[in-house]
């Protein structure tokens, strides 16, 4: 189990009590997201689809790399890692 920081994008902060970062423990990205979902209800369904995959308009990064390039949700974590949830954002005006 590793302690990692999950960065919460603005649109999802209403579900984390306004927190922009949440610390969780887990051995893999999947574990960490599950732990996030257990702590804050409603977040997980915004990130993962019904089949448990990352939604097509959301990306999850481990450090600076998309987890897709690191083996997906099974990518292993180490202490101090930073996960960032980055959804598509359209605003510009």
């Amino acid at each position: 189990m590793s302690n990692v920081t999950v960065r919460i994008p603005t649109p999802l902060r209403s579900m984390t009590g306004g927190a922009d970062e949440v610390t969780v423990s887990g051995a893999t990205v999947k574990d960490a997201l599950d732990a996030l979902g257990a702590k804050h209800e409603g977040v997980l369904s915004k990130v993962l689809d019904a089949k448990g995959g990352v939604r097509s308009f959301v990306n999850v990064y481990l450090g600076s790399r998309n987890i897709k390039a690191l083996g997906g949700l099974g990518a292993e974590l180490k202490d101090g890692d930073v996960l960032a949830i980055v959804p598509a954002v359209a605003g510009g005006k």
């Binding site: 209403s14 959804p87 605003g91 510009g92």
Partner: protein, 390 residues
């Protein structure tokens, strides 16, 4: 005079000389031809593709044009005398393959070799862009590139305002703006192209007034319409770069898909409350093919997954930061300077005052930019909450 003749004889014995025809052949093989004549001589014509560095600044500026000391260099003046002195100066500087062109530009012309009238900045432009001209990375050549560039802004709103404003100041020659909206007082908290007395005026008209006021030489092309699948190609065609400052997903996907198809770099910025994202989507990036928006997010979120209208809102200054990062990337692309954000996403968290860089990977199976299969066509996604982040 005797001293001059003696010195010339010495130079002729030590500096290799080539005929204009031979110089042209070497130039076509990659040798750098440097025209060292004075600006008023060069203004009447100079060899096609020559570097033009006046002899007085030759040693100071030559490395900007020819960084490799072992690269073949051909020096030319009007008659082949000044170029002997100049060639020797370059050898002393460390250039190892320097020749002088016999008979200079006069002989070049007599031999009917290709000549061009080098484009020049006017005295007015020289004054206006003086701070650019002082930087070798821009210089006259770069400023002329900016003046000849055609940049399209999708949206004259929060992102488009600062980006178009600064790029007009920088001298971008043609600025296209597409927007079908009119100025509303609630826009003025961030959309700095517009003014209080223009509430109710079309945004493209208002933008034109502001941009022309700052730089009357800019050609502002107004596209007062809404972008959709039927007009996107016609509007985008002919532009060198598209700066995406739109405020909704359907438009962003149209911008991406048309840029991919027309091979136009797509400078992307988006904002939400205190957060911003900037990137350059450019699958045809020479030497560094980069992802498109769909490699990153293949489909827009369904309406129920997008931030609700009630959550919309943005710190008025944030689009200034993000729009200007887009403007910087635009200038870098035009001038081929530095490393653009192609293949990277820069994320700005204003509250933490933190920039984070994320690496973007190409999707080898991307339906739009992978080159596998037919172009899937444009999609008019359903509009929803165009206020999101607006």
């Amino acid at each position: 005079m005797a001293a001059k003749e003696k010195r010339l004889a010495q130079l002729r014995a030590s500096v290799p000389e080539v005929s204009p025809t031979e110089a042209r052949r070497l130039q076509s093989e990659g040798a750098a031809l440097i025209d060292v004549r004075e600006p008023d001589e060069v203004a009447a014509g100079s060899p096609l593709g020559a570097h033009r560095i006046v002899r007085g600044f030759l040693e100071l500026r030559v490395e900007n044009s020819v960084p490799d000391l072992d690269h073949p260099v051909l020096v030319m003046c009007a008659g082949g005398v000044r170029s002997l002195f100049a060639a020797e100066n370059l050898s002393q500087l460390g250039y190892t393959k320097v020749s002088s062109v016999v008979g200079g530009f006069n002989a070049w012309k007599n031999d009917k070799l290709p000549v061009e009238i080098p484009p020049r900045l006017t005295p007015d432009q020289r004054e206006r862009y003086g701070r650019h001209l002082l930087m070798p990375e821009v210089g006259e050549k770069g400023q002329l590139k900016l003046i000849n560039a055609k940049v399209l802004f999708v949206g004259a709103g929060g992102l488009g305002s600062p980006a178009a404003y600064y790029l007009a100041a920088a001298g971008i020659g043609t600025i296209g703006i597409i927007d079908d909206d009119v100025v509303d007082r609630s826009n003025l908290q961030r959309q700095i192209l517009h003014t209080d007395d223009r509430v109710g005026m079309s945004k493209v008209k208002s933008a034109e007034i502001t941009l022309k006021g700052l730089n009357p030489a800019v050609n502002v092309v107004a596209h007062e319409t809404r972008l959709d699948s039927s007009n996107v190609e016609e509007i985008f065609n002919g532009y060198d770069i598209v700066v995406d400052g739109s405020d909704n997903f359907p438009t962003r996907y149209l911008v991406n898909d048309a840029c991919v198809k027309l091979k136009i770099p797509n400078v992307h910025g988006s904002i939400f409350r205190f957060e911003g994202q900037v990137s350059v989507f450019w699958p045809n990036n020479p030497g560094n093919p980069s992802p498109c928006y769909r490699c990153l997010y293949p489909e827009p979120p369904p309406p129920e997954m997008a931030p609700s209208c009630a959550e919309a809102g943005v710190l008025g200054i944030l689009p200034g930061v993000v729009g200007l990062l887009e403007a910087v990337e635009t200038v870098k692309i035009i001038l081929s300077l530095g490393d653009t954000l192609a293949g990277r996403l820069l994320h700005y968290d204003a509250l933490r005052a933190r920039f984070t860089e994320l690496q973007l990977d190409r999707d080898p199976d991307c339906a739009y930019c992978s080159g596998k299969g037919e172009f899937p066509g444009y999609i008019d996604y359903a509009q929803f909450c165009s206020m999101a982040g607006a």
